[in-house]
Amino acid sequence: MSKLALKVTAVETLSPLVKRFRFESPTGAPLPVFSGGAHITVEMPEGEIVRRNSYSLISDPYDGSGYEIAVRREDRGRGGSRHMHTKVREGDEITVSAPANHFQLDLRARKHVLIAGGIGITPFLSQLKQLGMEQKPFELHYAARSREEAAGLKLLPGAAHIHIHISDEGARMDLGAILDGQPLGTHVYTCGPDGLITAVADQAARLGWPKTSVHSEAFTAPPPGEPFEVVVKSSGKTVTVKADQSLLEALEAAKVEIDYSCRGGACGRCETHVTACDGRILHNDHWLSEAERAEQKTIMPCMSRFKGARLELDL
């Protein structure tokens, strides 16, 4: 994975829980451009461990002068977002991955309907710029609990086809009304909590939308949990995964070679074969099917954990 050494050039508080960060090249060299919905992985070294979280880019995909992300502080997370909020300051150096995208727009669509819940607004911010550039018809629906929490409000342009639904003000999002009667060839994209993603998929199915017109990105960072151990089959080495570390991070720290991209259980890239499992895999990804989970023959180390006597991985 190619890495970029950048400098933090702006930190802005958008809401009590969300901050915006801007990174630029220290030499002023242009950064690789990307496509709407892309993310970068940010490295957060702390003591001897390096946490890596992926965040959607919210800046203009065609603007190579800098990358911007918005980070919501998750106090029950394993510390990545807290690190961003409390440790990262203007002028700091920061290492990020080159952008990758698992949530692209299907540009053949006649119309795009974008549905965001809470911090799930982030991938749409770069997509909006792309849709504007390509002059594609779209509508965006952004649901948040309260105006104060709705960090996206500061980042969204005011436009007729951008709809804000604040549930505290009684303006709940009506998915039936949003999806019914859309022109043939519309695609819908959802990013936000699992419940919202499922509700949109169910509603679309009821209205006879083809599955391939329904896209989503579940927005999650790996959860913390109880510490556990894994055995690496090739070397026989035992790796300990700390409470506030993901399995992927622990393997990386132990110099075990493993591929990744989204670090959020969505892309399938880190899928790893399990060679022995005496216990229960705590699957937290959105990649494996129910049947695959039950089999306990594969694990997504970016998100999932383990509880039991022995877990051996084919690495």
């Binding site: 299907d106 006649r110 022109p183 043939l184 060839g185 695609h187 391939t212 017109s213």
Partner: protein
């Protein structure tokens, strides 16, 4: 004549699973004379499928039109050929709402063209039902001059635009709804293999 079975080929070559009723959902049905038979079979399996169907028959004989009329589709349109049908297909697609099903039946040329029009409007390919009936003639694009020759039944054939002798490939462009034809005697001009009928 039933849904044609084509011999296995490269992934690019489209296959046609056949029409299955989606019940009383809105439908757009486009068929040629041979394909109309598939619509009759579809209505035979579930008469309600016609209640919300716009049917467009392309180059169909009067008797065929009467048979479809008897199935009482919500609307019935006709066009003499695909060129004449194209503006109407575009209009039906642009007025349709999500949840509308697209049923295509007949020649590969018809299905290729209409599915290309529909995917250009954002409809995913897997949302389009197709059933092959009748002639196995192909709609071929010359990769050299980009001209499209309709109803190609032999391999090789002569491009109706630039006159090159073209080899019939199974390589299919879903964006354009055409098979690709490549110059057969580019290396040794004049050395043309014997002309054969295209087989399924």
């Amino acid at each position: 004549m039933p849904n044609a079975e084509f011999s296995p080929s490269i992934d690019s070559r489209p296959t046609y699973a056949g029409l299955v009723s989606q019940g009383a959902a809105h439908g757009i049905m486009v068929a040629d004379d041979a394909g109309a038979e598939a619509l009759c079979d579809l209505a035979g399996s579930d008469a309600s499928v016609m209640d919300h169907a716009h049917v467009l028959l392309v180059g169909a004989a009067a008797g065929t039109v009467a048979r479809i009329e008897a199935l009482k589709p919500r609307a019935l349109h006709g066009a003499p050929d695909l060129d004449a049908a194209t503006p109407l297909i575009k209009r039906l697609l642009s007025e349709a709402r999500m949840g509308t099903h697209l049923y295509l039946a007949g020649s590969e040329g018809l299905m290729g063209l209409v599915s290309a029009l529909a995917t250009a409007e954002g409809l995913p390919l897997d949302a389009i039902q197709m059933e092959h009936r009748g002639s196995i003639a192909r709609r071929m694009q010359c990769v050299h001059c980009k001209g499209i020759t309709e109803d190609v039944t032999t391999d090789p054939f002569i491009c109706s635009h630039c006159g090159l002798t073209l080899f019939v490939r199974d390589h299919f462009s879903r964006r354009l709804g055409v098979f690709q034809g490549v110059c057969v005697d580019a290396e040794a001009p004049g050395e043309v293999p014997e002309t054969q009928e295209i087989r399924a």
